[in-house]
């Protein structure tokens, strides 16, 4: 790896109005579109060199879709992705390969994200087969061993198969694969959700160490707000395909202003029995509406205790509102202490 600037720097990844709609079709011979699942529906995020952007939200809110868009597994329906100032949609097919090297992904499930029929060496070496220009053929083996070593596995196990490793170890293999092309950005889609609590910390620590060492920027997607708090510098809270609140870690966790974020945070159980019964928990009613048919206006209004008429009519923009110093998409944004709050 090249130089390792440690400080948070310039914006490396940026999206504007990013949308991904999956068409819902109907019809016998001629399929006509009758609607769309608005999996990601206008997301603006910024990622700076060396920082970690945490993305949190409940199941189905579009986190994985966002991740797939960012690494180019899906083409956006609308909006742009700027990688180091370059609009990816204008990049030619050939240059795309080079661009892609800069942005890699770590998947959620360490059991399904590794090809069971390839050895660890093959898995980690595959990026070099696809991008032969990165490492000369001769040096590949050494490089693969280096990578294995880097993520804390035994380089002698290069010829083993994924199933011979535990979940945490497999996740390290996935991380090594993502690191192979010296990317600046790694998109982590719930990298620790599938891991046992006792193993989770190993992987989280590894990710932190690598960031420090190589100045990597992470988009860290998770539904576990505790882990995000631990690892993220800035956090974006998603609800039904939209970012409804964003700010640095402190702003979100200590000074959250959006009712949904507040409910989300208050629901996280705290491993401290002394707080039992004294915490205010906001219990939301009902379920998340279908992304194919989101509510008008503010999407959260159907479950929001603050909802008023305006919420149904007008969609609140994600802006910084008076009395707060970070953007939030609520007409009635208001700070409220929720974590560990004692009533």
């Amino acid at each position: 790896m090249t130089d390792a600037p440690n400080k948070i720097g310039e914006v490396v990844l940026e999206t504007h109005g990013l949308r991904k709609h999956y068409p819902l079709t109907q019809g016998i011979v001629f399929k006509k579109q009758v609607g769309a699942v608005r999996a990601v529906d206008g997301v603006d995020i910024q990622l700076r060199r060396g920082e970690t952007l945490g993305v949190v939200g409940e199941s189905g809110c579009g986190k994985s879709t966002l991740a797939r868009l960012l690494v180019g597994l899906e083409a956006p329906t609308e909006g742009t992705i700027m990688l180091k100032g370059k609009d990816l949609s204008t990049v030619s097919h050939r240059d795309m390969r080079a661009v892609r090297r800069n942005i890699q992904m770590v998947m959620q499930d360490p059991y399904t994200s590794l090809n069971p029929r390839m050895t660890v060496g093959d898995i980690i070496g595959e990026p070099f087969d696809i991008h032969p220009e990165v490492v000369p053929k001769k040096g590949r083996m050494t490089r693969v061993r280096e990578l294995i070593d880097l993520v804390g596995l035994n380089a002698d196990h290069i010829n083993r198969y994924p199933h011979q490793f535990s979940g945490g170890q497999r996740q390290r293999i996935g991380i090594a694969r993502a690191l192979a092309l010296n990317p600046e950005i790694i998109i982590c889609d719930e990298p620790v959700s599938a891991l046992d609590v006792s193993i989770q910390a190993q992987v989280v620590n590894l990710l932190e160490r690598l960031q420090e060492e190589f100045g990597l920027a992470y988009v860290f997607i998770a539904h576990d707000l505790s882990v995000v708090r631990h690892i993220a510098d800035r956090v974006a809270v998603m609800y039904l395909g939209k970012v409804i609140e964003t700010g640095n870690e402190d702003e979100i966790y200590e000074h959250t202003t959006h009712p949904y974020s507040q409910a989300l945070l208050s629901a996280v159980p705290v491993p401290d029995p002394s707080l039992r019964g004294r915490r205010t928990q906001i219990i939301l009613e009902g379920d998340v509406p279908s992304p194919a048919n989101p509510p008008s206006g503010c999407r959260f209004r159907t479950r929001c205790w603050k909802a008023q008429e305006i919420c149904a009519l007008e969609e609140p923009p994600l802006t910084v509102r008076p009395g707060s110093d970070h953007p939030s998409a609520c007409h009635f944004a208001e700070e409220k202490e929720v974590i560990g709050a004692v009533s």
């Binding site: 609590v197 910390a201 708090r229 989300l264 629901a267 996280v268 705290v270 491993p271 939301l284 974590i339």
Partner: protein
């Protein structure tokens, strides 16, 4: 079709007469369960002990594979044998050893006296029958109710677990419900016959936090209402802290620490419990250092001799590495830990 009216039949009466209502609802003594697998005998549960008191919520905590579910299934008597085999132990329900009961009586205990909720509600509900059918079945088979009456009961149950429009939804199939609602259907099913003991095996692990909060809230509320004893199986330290009265921490199929909830979080007496607490990030604490439990959980066919945790333990000494395994030291009243060096652990 035979209907099993458990209320008045003589055999039911005989069974009820054996119960000692002064004894604790459930007591598990030295339970050993192993699985016969192709790679040998997997010792899933190795001397499980705990007592569940009236109205108590006991959490069983442990990482994946530590034997939580197997213990629960052994209590329910729904382990598949083969491959499972209960080699030792007693499971006392109100003083009666369930393992010695006839199949018939054993079956009657289920749902009537002890009920269970499973982790994955989607797969635990039969996909091809309506929710109403599956709920009503309990009343029809155990209470001999008619189809009609049982359906009405099912609606009541759905109402009880706060499913909106219960009357209509009773005819829906499980896949038509959201994750949280399915789990509530499971809860309704478990509570249908008003059991004394409810075993909830990771009831919220598959759910989102906001939904988890809804479900746990409901569960505690119903527990209180019905004055049930609850065994809550989980690996989420947060959930435990919120609802449990006492905790059994399992490692490699054995209770390594058993204590009232406050004590464990404040001063863990077993190195495993301690490491676990230190390795989880907390939403209410900023920038805390995560410590790591090195190594991996043991392979159950080849559990390390002595203390099973010793290869991963920073307190381990030579005597931890040889049999016998550490006994359950009394740390306090109501508090035990299976570690030779519990004092050092508590003090560190």
């Amino acid at each position: 079709m035979t209907t099993e009216t458990s209320v008045k039949s003589p055999s039911t009466a005989r069974f009820l007469s054996q119960l000692d209502m002064t004894a604790p609802p459930l007591e598990v003594r030295n339970l050993h369960v192993l699985f016969h697998t192709t790679s040998g005998k997997a010792h899933a549960v190795n001397g499980m002990n705990f007592v569940l008191d009236q109205g108590e919520t006991r959490a069983i905590l442990g990482e994946s594979g530590s034997g939580k579910s197997v213990t629960a299934q052994a209590i329910m008597g729904i382990l598949d044998s083969p491959p499972a085999e209960i080699t030792h132990g007693e499971i006392l329900y109100r003083g009666v050893d369930l393992l010695k009961l006839s199949d018939e009586d054993r079956r009657r205990v289920r749902a009537n006296h002890i009920a269970m909720i499973f982790q994955d509600a989607l797969s635990a509900l039969n996909p091809v029958f309506t929710v109403g059918f599956q709920l009503g079945e309990l009343y029809r088979k155990h209470r001999g109710m008619s189809r009609q009456a049982s359906k009405a009961k099912a609606v009541e149950l759905l109402d009880m677990v706060k499913i909106p429009a219960a009357k209509q939804r009773v005819n829906d199939f499980p896949h038509q419900f959201s994750g949280g609602m399915r789990q509530r259907v499971m809860i309704a099913m478990a509570l249908a016959l008003e059991p004394e003991i409810l075993i909830a095996d990771e009831p919220t692990t598959a759910l989102d936090v906001t939904v988890q909060a809804q479900v746990m809230d409901l569960l505690s509320e119903l527990q209180r209402e019905h004055n049930m004893s609850l065994i809550l199986i989980t690996h989420d330290m947060g959930v435990v802290a919120d609802v449990a009265d006492s905790i059994s921490v399992m490692y490699a199929g054995r209770v390594v620490e058993d204590a009232p909830v406050g004590d464990i979080y404040a001063r863990p007496a077993h190195p495993y419990t301690k490491a676990l607490l230190e390795s989880i990030p907390r939403v209410d604490l900023k920038g805390q250092q995560l410590s790591v439990i090195k190594g991996l959980p043991p392979v159950l066919t080849n559990i390390p001799p002595g203390c099973a945790f010793h290869p991963r333990c920073r307190f381990a000494q030579d005597n931890c590495k040889v049999p016998p395994e550490p006994p359950h030291y009394d740390v306090d009243v109501n508090r035990i830990a299976a570690c030779h060096y519990w004092r050092e652990v508590i003090d560190s």
